[in-house]
Subunit: 210 residues, 2 copies
Amino acid sequence: MLDSLSVSKFLDETASNSPAPGGGSVSALAASLGTALTSMVCRLTMGKNSNVTIQIELESVLIRSEKLRAQCTALIDEDTNAFKKVIAAYRLPKNTTEQQAQRAAAIQTAYKEATMVPLQLLELCAEAIVLLKTVGEKGNKNALTDAGVAVLMLGAASDGAAMNVRINLANITDLSFVEANKILINSLQVNVSNSAQQTLFRINERLFSY
Amino acid sequence: MLDSLSVSKFLDETASNSPAPGGGSVSALAASLGTALTSMVCRLTMGKNSNVTIQIELESVLIRSEKLRAQCTALIDEDTNAFKKVIAAYRLPKNTTEQQAQRAAAIQTAYKEATMVPLQLLELCAEAIVLLKTVGEKGNKNALTDAGVAVLMLGAASDGAAMNVRINLANITDLSFVEANKILINSLQVNVSNSAQQTLFRINERLFSY
């Protein structure tokens, strides 16, 4: 499990000449960091705010952000595992016509599976960024920069995930699968990006305008 | 040392109701991840590219990116420590006029020190993003999405650091210090953002246009 490595060792493994963990796992970690900061701002607000409605609202956000954090963290490993399956498919024997066909089919299956991991990450980022709208609006002002960094982490994770979906789709021959997923990720990525910009704007307004 | 925690524990600590580690340390970790991916793409290119000029160029980029990675990783702890010093200054006694003056001075000193950490991170991001221009142009095409995620991590780290500098500056009364640093971070942040956009554009062009 990559998340049981120390931060220092995870960085060393990333920097090494092995392609995994790479950008996919790092994007999943960035989303995990974004949801972790979201949870922190909820907790720092719940302890300090006497408004019961806000307390209840942020408690509900916290439960959802902790669930999303667990899901994002699981994808750190899943991305690396899916990548390894693609490599394994490429290494299948290709001596006979039958082997070549089997290998080609295995490569396609592996790429489809590898597409699903960053696609799922993108969907999780889209859910998580919605929570930050509430946190950015109602969170403890002393922790608002943390909410801002959470937005930045989820924005970067979403763009990284979208890039990884696209590069996998470029290797997939099933055009209906490719087109359906292209439309889906474009829509998700734009949604996350718009929400991120709006929430950052509101956070900066609360931090610096009054 | 925060980087000796497991990834999982680091995330738990971030999500907890203690304000540190928070957005500053997470920004430093994002920059560390960006430089780690930069190093990985250098290593994956050096092993695969027969062009001696590119080999030598990327070896030089690798040395610089590994140095930057160590510096960014050190800031994960430094940000949390600087934040703790601000809290400690606020907790100084304020019963007498003398104590009040000493406390106010200590708070100012602590905020100035706390400003220096994200400012240094922003400077490191500005150096690191330049390296990615070369990596994005000459890196192994199979690892280009990793270079893309590196750009995204450094962009988010830079914006996070700039936000943290600004919130510290908002508490500092030495206006010449505030103005000089505002000008500096605006310029650094715009530089990083422009370089990031250009490099991402070039990476997408190499990945998807031919």
